[in-house]
Homo-oligomer: 302 residues x 2
């Protein structure tokens, strides 16, 4: 029997409209238009155009630069609920505040826990892509809502297989082995990992693994996050010094700090491609087909 | 008996350090230094330098442009509590999100209620200055914490009496009568209110009250908030057209939207002065002496 319980609506926060539209189409959901503007004193004005009464509402918001984005997102969630939405969820392909999970120095704020509490208070569920979990074993350690972590690996593997000639996947450091090995195995591609020894803040030594027989391949550097770009730039220089081709860089979350693009360009990368977990000019790898089943599963739960 | 219950600490959010220092001095409190910086992806890093264990902590944060300021403020409050503060309060001389107190159009977010819930969840008490209450009778309608509203009127009255020759206080519209009359009576100054009739978004007619015998006085336009500057600019033009002197403008909250200063300058104001409820070049009227007793009262409560 079809009733209002089946009503599914998708709303994109500013900048997330393309992914919201793609998800709405895949889910067969209605678009819920979100109007957002700022008053002269910087306060947000929000309005939902459409009737979420009885509906399961899916908000789409990537959360890089989270401070200015978080209040409008939580206002919108409250608004949908007050207007009668029966379930309010969040697709945040790039989750924020996973970094500060313990006090490395006395007096530090545990932002990951506070941020998790906010999202848990305002949403019923969360879908995200490869969060940088660091010392947390699972989101459930700090998030008190239903969540699904979607791996970007299948999308990265497809893109590499289609777009790169004779790829050899390279992880820039030991931590990246988890991404690189999975992506490589999906398409039976060769892969290697660089090892990095840190002798201080600026003194990092990299060791190249054996690439005998792969000299004519295109190195594909894979990482979960590009932030400062320092690790990838260093790995690129190292590959080039050993006579390999200019690498293609493939990352899940393209956060690109101030000088990251410049740094990667100078280091000699051939091309940088990211998923649309973050909105950047490099975000060529779409994730909507991977996100839709997870969002459907949590949005339609009773 | 002096014990840790007496320990009072004051921390200023970025930009609020001068007011925090002034308050700490008046309260005989320790300064609690707050370190705040941003990672390349825009996430906040916060650290409290000092030991708030057992202390009553007072955070000072003016909340214009609130979206980017709110997450760091709430992180800091949580951090103080986790480090053992027995009481965590907020002096927010300029409170945010008082504007949207009902749905004027269907689907609008009631930001005032959600924002009040956040502050109420993270702080034990709140001191603010002349919040623009609109349709709320009191902060208690939406805030669930102890609060004291400090009126800026005594500080405005002192400044005018000391700085303006033969002032006549003028309210730019009927709503401002509440501020103007109180300030005027404190120093037994003459006062008048302009009446405004709105015939559409841009067609507003102002009527000058009788100013016979006050032609040689300096008009002092008083309002609670300068946002777009439109009302004050219009009132200024009106006063000048009727042969009065260029007015001095005195306001509590100098929010100054993009073109507000330009607008006021073109209209012909002599000078604009605000309180330090908001940090602006015009914020010459200090409020720390009015804020300190209210902060002391709530910070030292058991």
């Amino acid at each position: 029997m079809s009733d209002s319980r089946d009503k599914l609506m998708v709303a994109g926060l500013p900048g997330n409209e393309p992914l919201a539209r793609a998800l709405a189409e895949l889910l067969g959901a209605e678009a819920l238009e979100l109007e957002h503007r700022r008053f002269p004193d910087g306060e947000s004005y929000l309005r939902l155009h459409g009737d979420p009464k009885g509906a399961s509402v899916v908000f789409v918001a990537t959360l890089d630069h989270p401070d200015e984005k978080t209040p409008p997102l939580l206002f919108a969630a409250d608004c949908a609920r007050e207007l009668g939405a029966r379930r309010v969820g969040l697709v945040a392909p790039s989750l924020a505040y996973m970094r500060q999970d313990q006090r490395f120095k006395p007096g530090e704020a545990l932002t990951s826990r506070t941020f998790a509490r906010w999202l848990s208070n305002h949403f019923d569920w969360l879908v995200t892509v490869d969060p940088h979990l660091h010392r947390y074993a699972s989101l459930d350690e700090i998030y008190r809502l239903d969540s699904i972590v979607v791996p970007a690996a299948p999308a990265l593997a497809d893109w590499i297989a289609e777009s790169v000639d004779k790829p050899v996947l390279i992880g820039p450091d030991a931590e990246s082995e988890q991404w690189v090995s999975v992506v490589a195995e999906m398409k039976s591609l060769p892969w290697r990992v660089l090892t990095k020894k840190r002798h201080g803040d600026r003194d990092v030594q990299m060791t190249l693994p054996d690439l005998t027989g792969l000299e004519d391949h295109t190195p594909v550097l894979i990482d979960d996050i590009i932030s400062s770009g320092g690790t990838i730039a260093e790995a690129t220089r190292h590959l080039l010094e050993h006579g390999l081709k200019a690498p293609v860089v493939v990352a899940v979350h393209g956060l690109f700090g101030d000088r990251a693009r410049e740094l990667l360009g100078h280091a000699g990368v051939q091309r940088v491609v990211c998923t649309n977990a973050v909105n950047a000019p490099e975000s060529e790898i779409g994730l909507s087909r991977l996100l839709a089943p997870a969002a459907r599963q949590l949005a339609t739960r009773d």
